[in-house]
C-alpha cells in the first residue's frame, strides 16, 4: 500500500516538475541558473590554476579557444527533478524532506560541476572520448549517483525514525 502510494506521488511529482521545467515562464530562470553554473565552473578551474572563461553558457579555454556549451539538459535539472520527485513522495516529515532536497540538490550539482569540468578537459584532449563521456558515461553515472543519494537520505530518515521510536519507549 505504501509502495503504491509512493509510486503514485512519485509519478505525479515527476510529471508536475518536468511540466514546470519545460514551461515557457521557467525558461529565463533556468537559463540564468545554467549560466551561473558555467561561471562557477570557470572560477573553479582558475582557482586550481587552469585557464577558462565563462561566456554566457559557454566555457572557453582562452588559449586554444576550445569551448563547450552547457545545454539545457546538461545543467543537472533532470536528475534533480528525479530526486525531488522521489523525496517528495517518500513518507517523511516536511523538515526531513526539506533537508533531503537541499542536501541532495547540493550533492547532485557538486557532481555535475565535476562532470562539466572533466568534460571541458576531455574535450580538449580527444573529441571521440568527449562524445562518449558526455552522451553516455557521465549521464549514466549521474543517474546512479542520484539513486544512491536518495537511498542514503531514505536510510537516514528511517534511522532517525527508529531512533525516535526507541527513545519513546
Amino acid at each position: 500500500m505504501r509502495m503504491a502510494r509512493f509510486v503514485l506521488f512519485f509519478g505525479v511529482s515527476l510529471a508536475v516538475l518536468f511540466g514546470l521545467l519545460l514551461a515557457p515562464p521557467t525558461q529565463p530562470p533556468v537559463i540564468r541558473f545554467t549560466r551561473g553554473l558555467v561561471t562557477v565552473s570557470a572560477a573553479l578551474i582558475r582557482l586550481f590554476g587552469g585557464q577558462a572563461v565563462a561566456i554566457g553558457d559557454l566555457l572557453e579555454n582562452p588559449v586554444n579557444h576550445f569551448a563547450i556549451q552547457m545545454a539545457y539538459g546538461c545543467n543537472g535539472a533532470h536528475v534533480t527533478i528525479l530526486l525531488w520527485a522521489a523525496v517528495l513522495a517518500f513518507p517523511a516529515s516536511w523538515m526531513q524532506k526539506a533537508k533531503g532536497l537541499a542536501a541532495g540538490t547540493a550533492a547532485i550539482h557538486a557532481v555535475n560541476l565535476i562532470r562539466f569540468i572533466s568534460l571541458f578537459y576531455v574535450g580538449q584532449y580527444n573529441r571521440a572520448w568527449f562524445d562518449f563521456a558526455h552522451l553516455y558515461l557521465w549521464e549514466s553515472l549521474m543517474m546512479l549517483d542520484t539513486l544512491v543519494i536518495f537511498w542514503t537520505w531514505a536510510y537516514l530518515v528511517r534511522k532517525s525514525g527508529s531512533a525516535e521510536h526507541a527513545s519513546a519507549h
Binding site: L82, L135, S140, D145, V148, W151, R158, K159
Partner: protein, 235 residues
C-alpha cells in the same frame, strides 16, 4: 580494523565499476547487433502499417544515419499541410504521397539502447538474489520494447515537425515536450525506475519501510538470505 562499508557506498562503487565495464562492452560489442535488431523490428512495424507492404523500409546510409521510408495513409497524404509540404501548386491536382523519407542521425537509435548497460549495471550491483535472471530478462525485454516505442515516437515527431501537421500552439508544445523527454530523459531514467521495480532485493534495501534493522534484530529479506553453501560474506 577496516570500518564496514555502507550498502549505499558499496552499491555506488560496484555500480560505477560495472557501468564502465558494461558501457565498454555495449559500445564495442553489443551495439551493432542491438542496432541491427532495432532496425529489423522498426522495419517490421513500418511494414505492418497501412500501405507499408508497398512503401516501407529502413536502410543505413554510408555515414551511418538511418533512412526510414514511412508509409503515409491516404487520408493524411491528402491533408493540406502535407500537400503544401510537397509543394503542390494552387489549383494543381493533388500530389500523390505514398511514403515519407526520413533521415535519422545514428546517435538517436544509439541513445535508445543506452538503457541496457545502465540497467544491467544497476541490477548486477544490487544485493544478490535467487533467480537473478528473471529481473535481468524482464528488464531487458522491457527496455527493448521501450527502445522500439521511443524510436517510433521520434519518427512520428520528426514527420510532424517536418510536415507541420499540428495546428494549435498547444499541440506543437506537447509534441516538443514529448520529443525532449523521449530523447533526453527516458533513455537515462527508465533503467533507474525499472531496476528497483523488478529487483526485489534492491527495492527492499532502498524502500524497506520498516525502521532500520539493529544488529540484534537484523532481519534479512528473502532476497538477502544467504544461500546454503554459497555464502561468502564477512562475519
Amino acid at each position: 580494523m577496516r570500518a564496514p562499508i555502507s550498502p549505499q557506498l558499496r552499491f555506488l562503487l560496484r555500480g560505477s565499476s560495472l557501468l564502465l565495464l558494461l558501457l565498454a562492452l555495449w559500445w564495442w560489442v553489443l551495439l551493432p547487433p542491438m542496432l541491427a535488431g532495432l532496425r529489423l523490428s522498426t522495419g517490421a512495424v513500418l511494414w505492418l502499417l497501412p500501405g507499408g507492404r508497398s512503401a516501407s523500409g529502413v536502410t543505413v546510409a554510408p555515414n551511418g544515419d538511418w533512412v526510414l521510408r514511412v508509409p503515409i495513409p491516404e487520408s493524411m497524404a491528402n491533408e493540406d499541410a502535407v500537400q503544401r509540404a510537397y509543394r503542390r501548386a494552387p489549383g494543381a491536382p493533388r500530389v500523390l504521397v505514398r511514403s515519407f523519407k526520413l533521415v535519422i542521425a545514428d546517435r538517436i537509435p544509439t541513445f535508445f539502447t543506452l538503457g541496457f548497460p545502465l540497467f544491467w549495471a544497476l541490477v548486477l550491483a544490487a544485493p544478490r538474489m535467487p533467480r537473478l535472471w528473471r529481473p535481468v530478462a524482464g528488464g531487458t525485454a522491457l527496455l527493448a520494447l521501450l527502445a522500439q516505442l521511443s524510436l517510433l515516437l521520434y519518427t512520428a515527431y520528426s514527420i510532424e515537425s517536418t510536415l507541420r501537421l499540428a495546428t494549435s500552439a498547444a499541440a506543437v508544445s506537447l509534441w516538443g515536450a514529448a520529443e525532449y523527454l523521449n530523447v533526453n530523459v527516458v533513455p537515462y531514467m527508465a533503467p533507474m525506475l525499472i531496476a528497483p521495480w523488478l529487483h526485489t532485493g534492491l527495492r527492499e534495501q532502498i524502500f524497506s519501510w520498516n525502521a532500520v534493522a539493529t544488529p540484534e534484530s537484523a532481519h534479512l529479506g528473502e532476497a538477502d538470505k544467504p544461500r546454503r553453501g554459497r555464502y561468502r560474506g564477512r562475519k
